[in-house]
């Protein structure tokens, strides 16, 4: 009973406002301590998470980078992280884990990958104007591709690396992009086949003595492309 009376007297004598002024500093300490713990024990980059570790180490999220490959038999095609997965990729770089890297790889494996196309605005516009209806759409979709050697702003691509469609699209057969949702399906046979996706997270450090940036593989996962998205 005495304890209860003491507590009641203490709470009555301290105004809520007086207690509240400690809230922001206490919150800062709690979050910073949690960040330090996660960075020292786990894999969190000291730069992020509210622990004020910026400008203290080379090991920022930018120093952790991804290498992702579509694996088709013996062939491995490196691919860029698509825009729709940039946030997940950034999270994987900031606080790497096998689970996050696997999720990234799986979402990449679920996607449909096709050759990157560079569209010449004037030629595309002229192609649309000169054709009607389905013909124009087919042309823009690349169905009327000709196997001619590409010549785009003077850029000459060897036939095995690129080709040019009659409407002025330059198609890079070795530079792939993932088709985003709501985009029209790629021309038949243009989606790239692959059986697996391998995602690697690398981390570089600066070696002053050797005057070099040296990268080491930090994590690697491989997932099967069992979904029907890729053909």
């Amino acid at each position: 009973m005495k304890v209860r009376r003491l507590v009641r007297r203490a709470t009555n004598s301290v105004s809520p406002g007086r207690v509240l002024i400690y809230l922001p500093p206490v919150l800062l300490c709690l979050i910073a301590c949690a960040q330090i713990y996660r960075a020292l024990v786990g894999s969190l980059s000291p730069w992020k998470g509210g622990g004020f570790g910026m400008f203290s180490t080379v090991d920022s999220p930018d120093a952790r980078f991804l290498r992702i490959y579509l694996v088709n038999g013996a062939e491995e095609i490196p691919v860029l992280v698509p825009d729709s997965l940039k946030t997940l990729a950034r999270k994987t770089q900031t606080v790497p884990s096998t689970a996050l890297l696997s999720e990234l790889a799986e979402r990449i494996a679920r996607g449909t990958w096709e050759p990157y196309r560079l569209t010449h605005p004037v030629q595309s516009f002229q192609a649309v104007r000169s054709k009607n209806g389905a013909d124009a759409a087919d042309s823009l979709a690349g169905l009327a591709d000709s196997p001619t050697q590409a010549d785009y702003y003077g850029l000459q691509l060897p036939p095995e690396s690129g080709k040019c469609s009659p409407d002025g699209q330059l198609i890079f057969t070795k530079l792939l992009r993932m088709r985003e949702k709501r985009e029209p399906a790629p021309p038949t046979g243009e989606a790239v086949e692959f059986q697996q996706v391998r995602a690697e997270l690398w981390r570089y450090r600066f070696e002053v003595g050797a005057s070099q940036l040296k990268a080491d593989k930090y994590l690697e996962v491989t997932v099967n492309a069992r979904q029907t998205g890729n053909q």
Partner: protein
């Protein structure tokens, strides 16, 4: 707690409490309210000029800030600052792996404005909170630099001077880097991190001056941050804490001249101004001056000098 707690600047001296208003100490009431209003305005400017990258934070904050500029009463309303703090902190929580540390500090600061308006003397309460926030954030920054395995040996600033765009001007003007060396290093960097790269290491080129500059930056940054932490965490009015405003101003003016993270700089200036003792006549003016100088730092000096007189 969130019921109307508005400070009324038109409160008559000697008047008792009225519904919806708080009594401030009678002496200098108007001045204190004006100062709180100033901190509120500076915070609103900070929120508007350095907005969040996320639309669901940026748009509500823009609406709130513009409303507070139009309706003066909102600026001293605790409920308003509670909503602002929650929007900022919810954005930070949602994107904790993306946001920079000064966005966390900004969230704590908006929460501080709410908390101080719950007390009988908001001005004094805000000063106390600002004092702690500055001291603690610098303490953690120093801790990270000490425990880091590539800071004290100069590696971090060595790397930064070679590859961080924000340090390019000083690396070339003081460190002896040339545009050709900078470009060679950037090419090497891109070759390493490009998505189709199979390279494991790339050399970086630099003159001897970079090593000296990296050493200077390493120890200057650590020293000034330790001084700020000590000055703000030491008991008020004793030893180094007497000099805390000047030390913080030296930090702000030296650091952000090189790395213009202006959002962070402005947050520190507002907090510095809020904790500044009222008896110091010129120090608040120095903080205000620093508030403007940081914007001048942002001028494209290289382009202006390169353009020359027309």
């Amino acid at each position: 707690m969130l019921d109307k707690q508005v400070i009324s600047e038109s409160y008559p001296a000697g008047a008792g409490r009225e519904t919806g208003a708080r009594v401030l100490p009678l002496a200098s009431l108007g001045e204190r309210v004006a100062r709180l209003d100033l901190f509120a305005i500076m915070t609103l400017l900070l929120l508007l000029l350095y907005p969040s990258d996320f639309w669901y934070v940026r748009i509500p904050l823009t609406v709130l800030c513009v409303s507070a500029f139009v309706f003066r009463r909102l600026r001293l309303d605790s409920s308003f600052w509670f909503v602002v703090a929650m929007v900022v902190m919810a954005g930070n929580y949602q994107n904790w792996f993306l946001v920079d540390n000064h966005k966390y500090l900004l969230g704590y600061w908006c929460l501080s404005l709410f908390c101080c308006l719950q007390t009988d003397d908001p001005r004094r309460a805000l000063a106390a909170i600002a004092h702690w926030l500055i001291g603690l954030s610098f303490l953690f920054a120093v801790c990270w630099k000490v425990v880091s395995n590539d800071y004290l040996d100069g590696t971090f600033f060595h790397y930064t001077l070679l590859l961080d765009d924000r340090f390019r001007a000083i690396a070339e003007s003081v460190g002896g880097m040339t545009p050709e060396l900078t470009e060679a290093n950037r090419t090497a960097y891109r070759a390493l991190v490009n998505f189709d790269s199979g390279i494991g290491a790339v050399p970086l080129l630099y003159p001897k001056g970079i090593a000296n500059l990296a050493w200077l930056f390493t120890w200057w940054t650590l020293l000034i941050e330790m001084l700020v932490a000590a000055a703000f965490l030491w008991p008020a009015g004793k030893l180094i804490s007497k000099w805390r405003d000047y030390i913080l101003l030296v930090f702000i003016l030296s650091t952000y001249s090189v790395a213009p993270v202006l959002g962070f700089g402005w947050t520190l200036i507002i907090m510095g101004l809020a904790q500044c003792e009222e008896r110091l006549k010129y120090v608040p003016r120095l903080y205000m001056l620093a508030f403007v100088i940081l914007q001048i730092y942002n001028l494209p000096f290289r382009a202006i000098l390169a353009a020359g007189p027309s």
